[in-house]
Symmetry: C2
Subunit: 311 residues, 2 copies
């Protein structure tokens, strides 16, 4: 049976796994690796740094693992030209553009490599192996440091004209002056400013002066902390609004949610469903199921495994 090396690449670490073709993780590892390029003098230096860092992580993992891999699939934080593995651009790595990432990694590691946007990989993973398995159409949402989205339409990943589809976290859910929070993208009122783990942490700190993890805020809410409850309910309410807008455009009936903040599901889900129902138009009401991911934080890794070239 074919074994696949899957990699989920973040800003400061690589998650690596060997999987089989059924999405079973046989071996895994997490490697610290600084991808950001503060010191890179040029586009060429930045490119070399990325290739070296990823190749080194993969080589090291393969050396210590008892499994071998036939091919490699990678989820990467950036926008790709279709399924070419050419990185068009990456918001957090601005030196890189039109970068033949898959091809250069394949040359460096000497195995076939496919690379795709990380949020789209999570959607692919959830569609192939998780709660969205076999659906015609699927919206997968990640509530992490940011809010990400990936879209499967007619059983295929949809990347859009420039690989930038599903900037779901930047849907505008609050335009009211005073309530409309600033977002890292430069706009105000983006979903990400209310319904990401970082937003919840930030808002809680603003209201109470305390800096807690999203998990702690959830536990406080369950223990009766009003502020924590209101912040998580608000996250669910805004998430429901953004999902309603997406359904009005795309008529999708299955939505899956993963990421750290989805751990607060017992508070977020009812608020989300209430606001989803209030914001849909009558013929679309009651036609959508919103499910917590069954893959936890492995959706992206398993989606990366799913895109690996078949040998």
């Amino acid at each position: 049976m074919q074994h696949i090396l899957a990699a989920d690449i973040g800003g400061t670490n690589l998650r690596l796994a060997i999987t089989d073709q059924t999405g079973k993780i046989l071996d895994e590892s997490r490697v610290q690796a600084e991808l950001s390029l503060h010191n890179a003098a040029s586009k060429r230096a930045a490119e070399a740094h990325i290739i070296t860092t990823i190749s080194h992580g993969i080589h090291t993992f393969l050396k210590q693992s008892s499994y071998r891999a036939n091919s490699i699939g990678i989820g990467f934080p950036g926008f790709f030209h279709g399924q070419t593995g050419v990185l068009a651009s990456s918001p957090n790595l601005p030196l890189l553009h039109d970068f033949r990432l898959a091809e250069l990694l394949s040359n460096s590691i000497d195995k076939p490599v496919a690379v795709q946007n990380d949020a789209l990989c999570a959607a692919i993973g959830e569609h192939r192996f998780g709660a969205g398995q076999g659906q015609n159409n699927l919206l997968h949402i990640t509530l992490g440091t940011g809010v990400g989205g990936g879209l499967i339409l007619n059983h295929k990943p949809y990347g859009g004209e420039h690989g930038m589809a599903m900037e779901f976290g930047h849907l505008c859910v609050e335009r009211a002056v005073g309530n409309s929070r600033p977002c890292g993208c430069g706009n105000t009122g983006c979903l990400e400013s209310y319904a990401s783990a970082s937003a919840v942490i930030q808002i809680y700190q603003e209201k109470t002066g305390l800096r807690c993890s999203a998990k702690d805020i959830y536990h406080k809410a369950r223990s009766g902390d009003d502020v924590a409850q209101r912040i998580l309910t608000q996250a669910g309410t805004y998430l429901g609004m953004a999902i309603a807008e997406t359904i009005k455009l795309l008529d999708i009936s299955t939505i899956t949610v993963s990421g750290g903040l989805s751990g607060a599901w017992p508070i977020i889900h009812p608020a989300l469903i209430e606001s989803l129902d209030a914001n849909l138009i009558p013929p679309l009401k009651g036609k959508t199921t919103v499910l917590q991911s069954t893959l936890a934080d492995n959706a992206g890794l398993l989606g990366a495994a799913a895109i690996a070239p078949i040998r």
Copy 2:
């Protein structure tokens, strides 16, 4: 060469045409026909009424035309199950559901018939013959009595899970209490409540006491009427917001606009572009062209011609 009978069906009239396969209209007619079913006693009576009304209109047209048609394509105001020609439901004709419209019309007229949602037909027409010709992905917007949308993704019409995709006119663009206008769908703040011809007429009447056509309001605006200018600018601003949300989700780079209110393009377009740019995230800015339709009000009719079965 094959000739096609194309029909664009509205609530109170049928537009009919004979076209060739290049989208050239060879003959056309508009027939008064009341489709609504206030007097229908049952689902069966309603279905019979629809089939009889449409068949009669088509027969009459074919009898008086010097052209013959090999097959028939129809745009109809309702939601369809995929490309089966089975009507799932129709907001304005609530008695109808799961109705084998294409099959029964085909039996009645004795020619092959295809039927699809009218707004989706307009997108198909614009993609095949109009300003969106040959684009990978296309959003077509109709600014008429309501605001409609149709979507082409990867060169194919996209209808969604229940044929209800692109309820573009019901995107929520105004949530502020006091400014958020009620919409026919039951929600408030829908794009349609600001950027349809009927909304513009209604708002102008509220502000001035005068009931004018959308065309008159446009001419007043061009002649320096402040109120008219503000209402049309507002329509463009809200339209730009709704387009921005759609682009953040779908990364579409070509958008076409038709319908009566698009006649106010010289005022609507600049306002639209300003608000589109303000609401997009940086990597998506400047990547979209918003074009006025080149098919005027024939987009739907020509889309209907494009879906007719090939014999």
